[in-house]
Amino acid sequence: MSATTTLKLAPEREARIDDLQRRYPERRATLLHVLWEIQWQLGWIPEEWMVYAAARCGVPVAKVLGVVSFYTMFRRKPMGRYHIEVCRNITCHMLGARKIIEHVEKKFGVQEKEVSACGRWSFEEVECMGACSWAPMMTVNGAYHENLTLEKVDEILDGLK
């Protein structure tokens, strides 16, 4: 089944996709680029936008869903205004990640991959982010925060509007 859509991304996003589709040997290979543009614009990837991605790349919608579900960073539901990710892998684990995870869960009353009632917070445990030498670490909306202590976590999160 070939997908059709009337949706359009912001003009500069459409232009970037057009440019890449000219440079790639195959249009369908730009799927990850298209998915990132959708997520950057909307914060997540709603189903109708998967249809858009399918149409834009000339692939079946099922393929898009397969790709979206394969990668941990593509979101199939909206997250909080501040999305916190705490690394749970080996060095962070040795240096206190579990305490940070419990602290964040308690602080906002949120379970993993859930959004707080006020919509401001969501959090997720993640695997190694490449910050082991500066463990433990977390990200807030993608920005790295390293060498954490519980006090530093509070300072960072309480400083957000």
């Binding site: 799927l31 680029h33 790709v67 394969f70 990668y71 490449g130 030498s133 990200t139 993608g142």
Partner: protein, 418 residues
Amino acid sequence: MTLILTARWQTKDSHTLASYESAGGYEMWKKALGMEPAAITEEVKQSGVRGRGGAGFPTGLKWTFVPQNTGKPVYLCVNADESEPGTNKDREILERDPHMLIEGSLIAARAIRCKTIFFYIRGEFDLAYRRIVTAAEEARRAGHFGQNIHGSGQDVDFIICKGGGAYVCGEETGLISSVEGGRGEPKVKPPFPAVKGAFGCPTIVNNVETLAVVPWVLRHGAAAYKALGTEKSPGTKLFSVSGRVKRPGNYEVPLGYPLKQLLLEDCGGMQDGYTMKAVIPGGSSTPVLPADIALGVNLDYEAMAAVGTMLGSGGIIVIDHTQSMPDLLLVLAHFYSHESCGQCTPCREGTGWAHRILQRINAGEGTAADLKLLESVASQMSGATICALADALVMPIRGFLKHYRSEFEALLRTEVQA
């Protein structure tokens, strides 16, 4: 001590084009544009540079595997999908000297007659991603890539691909699947990517650290590079040290450097109140060494193999005396089962089984039969899959049990006879 990769890390604004060019940046690219591709490959081959992503395969030799005159385009994929737990070296190259990496990639592209470089960077990287995007834009404007580069008549395009968060995309065929816009599922080899890779065309996949040394090799010559390190492991390498040492971080040392000197002198030894129990020397998938063995080994491919482990990615994880080995192995089993792409049954099921067995053992609910089962699962996973992800868990399981079996046994529940 000669520094290649980190030479400019302390320079102000080392990540900018102006800084890089003021230190002679892109001169080697201009030189390479006038060289025969085979001559570039030969220089890199003679230098003895080996792949720094983990496997240690000779880089120049890999480039010679690209068949000539197939009529198909040739692709270069830069593997900046650094995600082996314990490793953060490529990230710092990306952040501090992205132009050196771009120049190395362009020279490599010329060596294999590639006109499109896919620069695949892991999706989570934040500053590193912004730095490479900005650097690529600067390099494009300066005419270092694009069409008719510096009047040479040659064209090279440079496309940055942002990953979506999947460890398995660091495996070269998984990376290719992702570049092609699909799930990052590894592919059966042979055919090897050099013959049939991205879009069915000859493709070379090289690690960030590998490509970053190429400009230096061209400038100073293969002999100068070969003079560093050991005979079989030439050159320098970046090591990421993590854990409770006083000064964790990335360190560039010549291969063959004593691990003891790196950990006890360069890193300042253990933090006060902590003693060294064990070291995972080359990223989480390499077999663990008890501290006494680790402190007697040198950092090169051969010395590591001699004590039953690997140099791997250079991610040195220092484990202190407060850590429980069964607990750490549980963390790793959780990780590898989470990251299994699910194509191969032994990996998809085996990593999950290992994870659940280790959960039981750590919860005090495991039995002697569970420990045997863990070993059996490990042997059934090993060598039975498309890529090395299953073995990336088998190696730590075997290493942890070889040296710390008693810690696992101490957690087992005693079977009560009915």
